[in-house]
Symmetry: C2
Subunit: 344 residues, 2 copies
DNA sequence: TTGAAAGCGCTAACAA
DNA sequence: TTGTTAGCGCTTTCAA
């Protein structure tokens, strides 16, 4: 069932059938109508490969998601949520989604995959900023948008939550509750969100005149074990904090578990706040206070930017693109039961 | 940079270049070597659309995942895990993954998409068994494998956990701890896993001589709210159960929350066991005892079956396929802190 | 407004 | 072992 069959049945040429099917202007209403009806009746479905081959665009976006951490047993909940949000947004934009793998580790593997599949654009999530693959990708000029990864290039940009502001809100929330000894369990120093969360934390602590004693800032890796380990360190301190801000819900929940197991009450003895708003956050007892990242909004924002770059590229393949600014979305403070007034 | 360029540079015909690139036997080692080197040097990357068009296969599998529940705010953690497991397995099998959407609700939308993209196979997850789209899909003859959905056809089959055995294990575990008043919060009656979990529960209860009083079997929908609601019902019973088996971790965790909020101790007053082994299960306090579904193994099993059907199809496009049997994988009892000896 | 024809980049049948 | 050639199904000039 191809376009030839449709054309023959409708008694027109293939060219005309194509024009009608693609809603081109130069075809007469009557003809268009007839072709469309016949295509419908015959169950005609255009062959995407043929179309992509000749149009040199696929209406498909590739998504690169480094699954190595998951392979090592770390779950990356948040990225999974992000994936869902992004998929929805792509659906709305009429773009297909191809999941790419990072198995091929060669420098330009990604750019090559993009070319091979005639991908219109690329999305990066959970990709290490030091991956050698990024530079050739930027150079290739394929429209690319990343989550939480500073990407700058002629057709590249990035989207993320405003982590600095988020961390500041966390400090504000705790400080407003009367806490003065506030510790932070940070993320890996190489990652942008971790950097900004730390920055926002330190900044706001200073602004509010709160000290950060030695040992009060620990580096985790966003995953539970590191959160638990850090919390044990915090509890062993001669003067332990009355509140802890963890740079991920996963670490926050693990930290809370350690506190509970140590016989402390949360939030009576120690308040804990996370960031992400994973589903687990509302499931655990006490339910976790956290800064919610809106993965739907992030997905939409990303797809929006990407679609715009693609559109611009199409309109003028070699023109200058206006510099793309990163989009930073606000987080939302969700107060649950793991934070309360400072003890005494 | 196309195959013509490679051929010209190597001083051979396009056909020979193609043969060398595709590792065909009829090409001389010297020629092959030369072509490969030149392709490498030129950064040649075959155009997938062109290849798909002529070969009529794409080495790509489509994954259909009904995101409507997520759109309604239900998370489907387990499917997300399954997606990850499946993606890994596909990578290993050298298959690309295309995420399909169910936006187009017409009966044969899926089969059409499969044809349009020349997809080699299809994976269904979280798809309602009553969806009208399934029948035309089966009829279309596209190799299709589903999770937790009885699919039978010339090139279709399915994979899932052995839910009946899983439920039986749950009963055994609780009964071994001395529980006699065991209730169950089931899943939606239309869904296969829910049916089998209920069946396994009732069967094993009978086998062990345990009664199931009226009101002891409640129907939920796998999501948290229904678990909480059901638990409230159970606690309101004149003689409340000492143990509850919930047909999903999400319901189990919510049920546990209700019990805790009602001032009961878990597992001292009531034991709770779930099924899935979501990440949250190990995060909540008390940590949830559950029956773990191995999503990696499920993914691998599914991809294995699918690849086999695809292979067979290729070898003999119109031959009879041997009847595919569904693959049922065992679950694993993970004993944590939410189950304990029966009270008194 | 329509049709004829070229060609997107590749594979594979056939011939040499 | 290699080359010539005919398409795969579609879009898009160009001419009518």
């Amino acid at each position: 069932m191809d376009i030839r069959e449709v054309a023959r049945t409708a008694g027109v040429s293939i060219a005309t059938a194509s024009r009608a099917l693609n809603d081109r202007a130069e075809v007469s209403p009557a003809t268009r109508q007839r072709v469309l009806e016949i295509a419908e009746r015959l169950g005609y479905q255009p062959n995407i490969s043929a179309r992509t081959l000749v149009r040199r665009r696929s209406d498909t976006v590739g998504l690169l998601w480094d699954s190595a951490p998951i392979r090592r047993g770390r779950s990356q909940r948040f990225l999974q949520d992000l994936l869902v949000g992004t998929k929805m947004a792509l659906d709305e934009a009429g773009l297909h989604l191809m999941l790419l793998s990072m198995r091929d580790q060669s420098r330009d593997a990604v750019a090559r995959q993009a070319r091979a599949h005639s991908l219109d654009g690329l999305i990066l999530m959970g990709v290490d900023p030091h991956t050698a693959a990024i530079e050739p990708l930027i150079d290739s000029g394929v429209p690319t948008l990343a989550f939480d990864l500073e990407l700058h290039g002629p057709a590249a940009s990035w989207v993320g939550s405003d982590n600095r502001a988020a961390a500041a809100s966390a400090v504000d929330h705790l400080a407003d509750l009367g806490h003065r000894r506030i510790a932070m369990i940070g993320g890996p120093a190489t990652m942008l969100p971790a950097q900004n969360r730390l920055l926002g934390f330190l900044e706001r602590m200073r602004q509010r005149g709160l000290e950060v004693p030695p040992g009060y800032v620990l580096e985790g890796d966003f995953f539970q074990d590191s959160g638990a380990g850090a919390m044990r360190g915090l509890l062993a301190l001669p003067e332990r904090p009355t509140a802890v801000f963890a740079a991920s819900d996963e670490m926050a929940i693990a930290a809370m578990g350690v506190a509970l197991d140590a016989g402390l009450s949360v939030p009576e003895d120690v308040s804990i706040i996370g960031i992400d708003d994973l589903e687990s956050a509302s499931l655990v007892r006490p339910a976790l206070t956290t800064l919610a990242q809106d993965h739907w909004a992030l997905g939409r924002a990303l797809v929006h930017c990407l679609a715009e770059i693609i559109e611009r590229r199409r309109a003028d393949p070699h023109g200058e693109l206006p510099a793309q600014l990163p989009v930073l979305l606000p987080t939302r403070l969700v107060i649950r039961d793991s934070t309360g007034p400072a003890p005494r």
